[in-house]
């Protein structure tokens, strides 16, 4: 009993410390630090994804280049359309890769910014990174659109021309 009585002041002090109100600045700094850690994770994820996506798009473009060469060798009549779609994809991929680098740089800037409500640099850096993310998403969409709506139809047209040419040759024989 005496032991419990002796410990009462200590427990009372501990409860008082826990119930002490936290200021807004401290809370904001804590949230900022957590957000910076998550931004760092996001930057690593974006770097890995951008490398993987760029490799896949490069492989697709290589196949399209091959078809453009063989089509030119076969004297494909609509070779200009096919090469135009290939060039459009090349431009879209270049823009996508550049925008991915810009977005990653903006994330690194936000990660290195100082936290604080008044003179802190974190919030503006985060807003800039969000704007670059919108641009990156639009460039990624442009690459997909170029492939699905330009390159693939051009390849279908090339396939149709090959079939028509083969049928014509068979009729001649």
């Amino acid at each position: 009993m005496a032991f419990v009585i002796a410990l009462l002041p200590v427990s009372t002090y501990a409860q008082a410390v826990e119930n002490e109100p936290i200021t807004n600045e401290e809370a904001s700094n804590d949230a900022c630090n957590v957000a910076k850690q998550r931004i760092a994770t996001q930057a690593k994820k974006i770097t890995t994804l951008q490398t993987d996506h760029s490799a896949k798009y490069a492989t697709m473009k290589g196949r399209i280049d091959t078809f453009a060469i063989t089509a030119a060798t076969a004297k494909y009549t609509a070779i200009n359309e096919l090469t135009a779609t290939r060039d459009g994809l090349t431009t879209a991929l270049s823009v996508f890769n550049s925008q991915a680098k810009i977005y990653k740089t903006s994330l690194e800037t936000a990660q290195a910014a100082t936290c604080g409500e008044e003179d802190g640099q974190f919030t503006p850096a985060l807003e800039a990174a969000r704007a670059e993310l919108v641009s990156l998403r639009s460039t990624a969409t442009a690459v997909k659109t170029s492939i699905k709506q330009s390159v693939v139809p051009a390849l279908r047209d090339y396939a149709s021309w090959l079939k028509a040419t083969a049928d014509t040759n068979e009729e001649k024989l």
Partner: protein, 229 residues
């Protein structure tokens, strides 16, 4: 009495000997007086010959005395032509060296000809020295020819590989120009068909659809994603 025809006077040298020429000597008559006079003359000549004969070996002895120098020359040449020097040395030594060592009259006939020994001394050096450089020359020529052949073969092989590389580079120039912007490997099929082109188009569509763009969504940098627990 027939006169004795005069012989052409030749200068007396060391290698000439006073001899009677039976063809030119014709006695005037066959009287005893003249015969005795002739016999006296013959006797005098034979006496002179007797004085010369013992000394003749010394002529060769002087010529052979430098013979001890010959083995030096012969030993040098023996590894390449062992037979020729030994034969020459035997010809020089066998007839004359035994007597030459015992003779003590070197100053008596200093004018005697030494041509036989001189020729013998010179001949080994000439006969021995000729095959040695000829073999050297032949080996040098052989080595030079082998080196030249090896160099020519190496040059031919290198040229062949360089030509192959040049051919492959020139054949790939067109493909590389078309695919230089992408950097992707180019393996064009010889002829495209409808089926493989359509298959590739379908594969491209599926590949594009499989690319996940969720990492580019706004939600990745939303307040909820950054601040919420």
């Amino acid at each position: 009495m027939n006169p004795i025809p005069e012989e052409p006077k030749t200068p007396l040298t060391g290698d000439t000997k006073p001899t009677l020429d039976p063809k030119t000597y014709v006695p005037e008559d066959s009287s005893p007086q003249t015969d005795s006079a002739a016999l006296d003359a013959i006797g005098a000549l034979e006496a002179e010959e007797d004085t010369i004969r013992p000394i003749q070996p010394t002529q060769s002895s002087q010529t052979v005395t430098p013979a001890p120098e010959q083995p030096v020359v012969v030993d040098v040449m023996t590894p390449f032509v062992p037979e020729q020097p030994t034969v020459v040395a035997e010809d020089v030594v066998t007839p004359e060296t035994p007597e030459s060592t015992t003779s003590d009259s070197e100053t008596v006939f200093p004018v005697l000809p030494i041509t036989p020994a001189g020729t013998l001394q010179d001949s080994p050096t000439q006969t021995n020295s000729n095959p040695f450089p000829e073999q050297k020359k032949s080996t040098k020529r052989l080595v030079i020819v082998l080196i030249a052949v090896v160099v020519l073969i190496g040059a031919a092989v290198a040229g062949y590989f360089m030509w192959q590389a040049a051919q492959s580079n020139s054949s790939n120039d067109g493909l590389q120009n078309n695919s230089s912007q992408s950097g992707a490997p180019v393996a064009p099929t010889p002829t495209d068909t409808e089926s493989n082109v359509n298959a590739s188009a379908t594969s491209l569509e599926q590949g594009v659809d499989s690319i996940d763009d969720s990492a580019y969504d706004d939600s990745t940098l939303s307040d909820e994603a950054l601040y919420d627990n």
